[in-house]
Symmetry: C2
Subunit: 212 residues, 2 copies
DNA sequence: GTCTATAGAAGGATAGAC
DNA sequence: GTCTATCCTTCTATAGAC
């Protein structure tokens, strides 16, 4: 019966993923998850014991899948500019398939700061800066990216792709009045975001240098 | 007794504001709001009848206060560049005092799309574009802002100030490892955001034009 | 207007049969 | 492993005294 075990556990996990991402921890109901999975409430507890544990399993996996998408930025063999274009293309395509993901993750992370530490021994800006400056020493110097300015720049890069999804409600509504829709806005964004960031970085580097 | 009525109603409203912004609608508990207000659960219902109605009152006011901050962008007498600098300074200062506001508003807006329409008869990008192009015809042309590119640009401008607060959990954690803190990151951002956006707009306009 | 007490519903979790 | 039935707690909301 190992087969069915795994099948059921997976069904539960997928149902929980849907319900939790849509409603959040507080808004999700165990009986709704059971319904989505086509099984019974008691079985949820049989497999995952508590709501909290079920949530943790779902959250950890989703958080990992989200942040994993940043790794291409550190793969060698591409110029910085290529990496940025490639990153946005991949990242936004992924988010388009999972539009509630950024909201969900960022929110639960704000509510439960403890969760952060579990996942983020990795998220060390200094390491990221070291890797980038090894791979792109000239480019970073040219556009004036320093260890100091890294957090501001990284936050801005992430903002360009994640924010539209976090603000999907309003943006969708606004677009609708223009006779446009969210999906084509997002499609455009795959091009717009990297162009915008590259333009900013080029000019930003220049203005900083000329001041000195 | 009108005096005390208003005092109590205000106390409830303020307590509800704190609890709802911190925990969201689903996470908030009426008895916690009552406790925060220093009164009794029954009194909440006496003044606001239901949790839903109390939430609506709080939400409407907060959403209005948040989006109100965008109006300086349409006040005449400033160059576009000055407006952008001024906007970020004011907006980020405001958010620094109310760091959970963007998360709260955007989230509840995603969960309850009906709410949007109540508040946003105003949010019409075309109107905004018309106002801006009347006040800054040359400047807009120079940096190549068109009716078409408005949504992308507006989303990017909003992202630069709102996103750091939405992602406060992670960003704070990452900064901590560098021996920095979120507040000084935000303080820096008042300068960084406008410089970054202005740099992007300048260069973005150029690259688009030179392609044609 | 404000309180105590409580109704009534819903949620998470478990016991026990199959 | 899966189900039904049920316990226990918590939550929103109301009744009724003061």
């Amino acid at each position: 019966m190992k087969e069915t075990d795994i099948q059921t556990e997976d069904k539960i996990f997928e149902a929980a993923t849907r319900v939790f991402t849509e409603k959040g921890f507080d808004g999700a109901r165990m009986h709704e998850i059971a319904g989505e999975a086509g099984i019974n409430k008691a079985l949820l507890h049989y497999y995952f014991r508590t709501k909290e544990k079920l949530f943790d399993a779902v959250f950890s996996k989703l958080a990992a899948s989200l942040f994993e998408k940043f790794t291409p930025l550190f793969r060698p063999g591409m110029s910085l500019e290529e990496k940025i274009r490639f990153f946005y293309h991949e990242h936004i395509s992924f988010l388009k398939q999972n539009p509630q993901l950024p909201s969900f993750i960022l929110n639960e992370l704000n509510r439960n700061p403890q969760r952060i530490k579990k996942i983020f021994e990795k998220a060390d800006v200094d390491k990221i800066y070291n890797m980038l400056s090894q791979q792109h020493p000239k480019e970073l110097a040219e556009i004036n990216i320093t260890r100091e300015s890294m957090p501001q720049i990284m936050a801005s890069i992430a903002a360009m792709s994640a924010f539209p999804f976090v603000a999907k409600g309003i943006i969708g509504e606004i677009l609708q009045k223009q006779g446009k829709d969210f999906d084509s806005f997002i499609e455009e964004r795959k091009e717009f975001a990297p162009e915008f960031i590259l333009a900013a970085l080029k000019n930003f580097g220049k203005s900083k240098k000329s001041k000195k």
